[in-house]
């Protein structure tokens, strides 16, 4: 069950209407900071990768709504004045402090938009609803930018013992089973798949092991699993059943001191091939 590539530990930052937020089951949102200071903090942590997701209803513009923040930090990352900027300028600023792969998602609907996001310093785009609605979008993106630049994100929820795919920030049930969509996504040319459990999101009681196993067994492309990683042992537990290529989480990295390095240490102890 060992990949020759390193298993990645990936913090996710969720941006919603001017703030970084903590989410719980895709429903409740709590503000945790301004859109840039978290990136500045993470840039010192020697991350494997960073995923930045915009879950606002209006995904076209960014602003810093956190009035308490000053205009600059000691880390050298410049904060923006409190004015609206577009997604491309936003990614451009983000990338200035990212010397590791940066993935951006949220409202990426067109090839043109994907191209500009990648050109502004992102290494991968994350697509979800647009990919589900128009399957060719995955193929078109993969042909144009290479499959390694395309992460298809899938949000799912357990309904009567089946994992069902949800879209539109987890609001719309599609009726499609996860396994079917995972197989399709691979055929359509995605480079990797980010699986989010809506049930486990923000609960902190551990990843959904069955969900992970099911996803890993039904595709040969990398699976990154997200949702539920609240304690260090959750990150090692998951490998008892299957071997995802990446583990993603949001809250634990914001609220638990030294969590990133400590999880890495624990994974190493358990002989998981990490960086």
């Amino acid at each position: 069950m060992k990949h020759s590539l390193k298993t990645r530990l990936i913090p996710i930052l969720l941006y919603k209407d001017g703030f970084i937020v903590k989410s719980r089951q895709f429903k409740m949102f709590q503000t945790v900071g301004n859109p840039f200071s978290q990136v500045a903090r993470y840039s010192k942590w020697n991350l494997d990768e960073l995923i930045y997701l915009n879950i606002s209803s209006d995904k076209n513009f960014f602003q810093n709504s956190d009035q308490q923040t000053t205009s600059s930090t000691s880390s050298g990352l410049k904060f923006l004045p409190n004015k609206k900027i577009d997604v491309f300028e936003f990614v451009n600023i983000l990338s200035k402090n990212c010397f590791m792969p940066l993935a951006y998602g949220g409202g990426v609907k067109t090839i043109e938009m994907a191209k500009k996001i990648l050109k502004n310093g992102a290494d991968k785009i994350v697509i979800n609803t647009a990919a589900f609605k128009n399957n060719n979008f995955i193929t078109d993106c993969a042909k144009k930018f290479g499959s390694q630049a395309i992460i298809v994100s899938i949000d799912c929820k357990k309904i009567l013992d089946k994992y069902i795919v949800f879209v539109e920030n987890g609001k719309v049930e599609t009726g499609v089973e996860l396994v079917d969509w995972v197989r399709d996504v691979e055929k359509l040319g995605a480079g990797e798949i980010l699986i989010n459990s809506i049930d486990k999101d923000g609960v902190g009681l551990g990843f959904d092991k069955n969900l992970c196993k099911l996803s890993v067994e039904n595709t040969s492309i990398p699976i990154v699993i997200c949702g539920g990683g609240g304690k260090i042992e959750h990150f090692t537990d998951i490998f008892k059943e299957s071997a995802p290529h990446g583990l993603a989480a949001a809250n634990i990295f914001q609220f638990t001191e030294n969590s990133y390095q400590n999880i890495k240490k624990e994974l190493k102890k358990c002989q998981i091939n990490v960086r």
Binding site: K6, F99, G121, P222
Partner: protein, 211 residues
């Protein structure tokens, strides 16, 4: 000549990420979108994401080839090729048919073999280790217990003669391949130093300090 890096800016490559890395290291550089700008630089970096053929065609169309040859082969300026920018310094590429490379170093470029592992995922995308890198000064400060760099490619360089002593290190993915070379003033790496955190930033810093 003032020490300044010329970063070749053409339609291929993730130029923005390299600019970000150089900026954070406070290394002087200039984006070169035309060949004559290379004459004013002491070091040259050729980035690359994309295909061997497209990279060579683009360099040719923008008129970079004579200037690259002059500055690197005649003037012996320090040159660093990254990813496809590394692959094109060899004789030829076999990506879509055979295409000619810059030919500064003997060798060619072909797809990673799946013979040893049918389920091998391509491209090789992610963190991997470099092995036996001790002899190259560009890897000065690369830690023994963490020699990870970020890779993103499907093609590798083969046919490099061991006896010429230009191989700096190897990496394993499906097979063992050359992940960095140094031939006189010419350096090339298969990984992306600009996306390899501290290891990568140290590497770029070491390159910029060459004189």
């Amino acid at each position: 000549m003032k020490k300044i890096i010329g970063l070749i800016d053409y339609s291929y490559g993730n130029t923005q990420s390299i600019c970000n890395a150089l900026n954070s290291l406070k290394i002087d550089f200039t984006l070169c979108s035309s060949a004559k700008e290379l004459d004013l630089c002491s070091h040259i970096i050729l980035p690359g994401v994309g295909s061997f053929t497209a990279t060579m065609e683009s360099l040719d169309q923008l008129g970079f080839l004579p200037s690259l040859n002059y500055n690197v082969l005649n003037k012996k300026k320090f040159f660093l090729g990254i990813c496809v920018g590394f692959q094109v310094i060899f004789s030829e590429g076999r990506e879509f048919g055979v295409s000619k490379g810059l030919g500064w170093v003997k060798g060619n470029c072909r797809k990673i073999s799946k013979i040893n592992d049918k389920n091998l995922i391509l491209p090789h995308n992610g963190w991997n280790e470099i092995q036996n890198y001790d002899n190259s000064k560009l890897f000065y400060k690369t830690k023994k217990n963490d020699s990870n760099f970020y890779f993103n490619h499907s093609y590798i360089v083969t046919g490099v003669k061991k006896e010429e002593n230009i191989i700096c290190c190897h990496t394993e993915y499906g097979e063992k391949f050359v992940s960095a070379i140094q031939y006189e003033n010419i350096f090339g790496v298969q990984f992306h130093p600009e996306k390899s955190q501290e290891n990568g930033l140290n590497f770029l810093k070491n390159f910029s300090k060459l004189k």
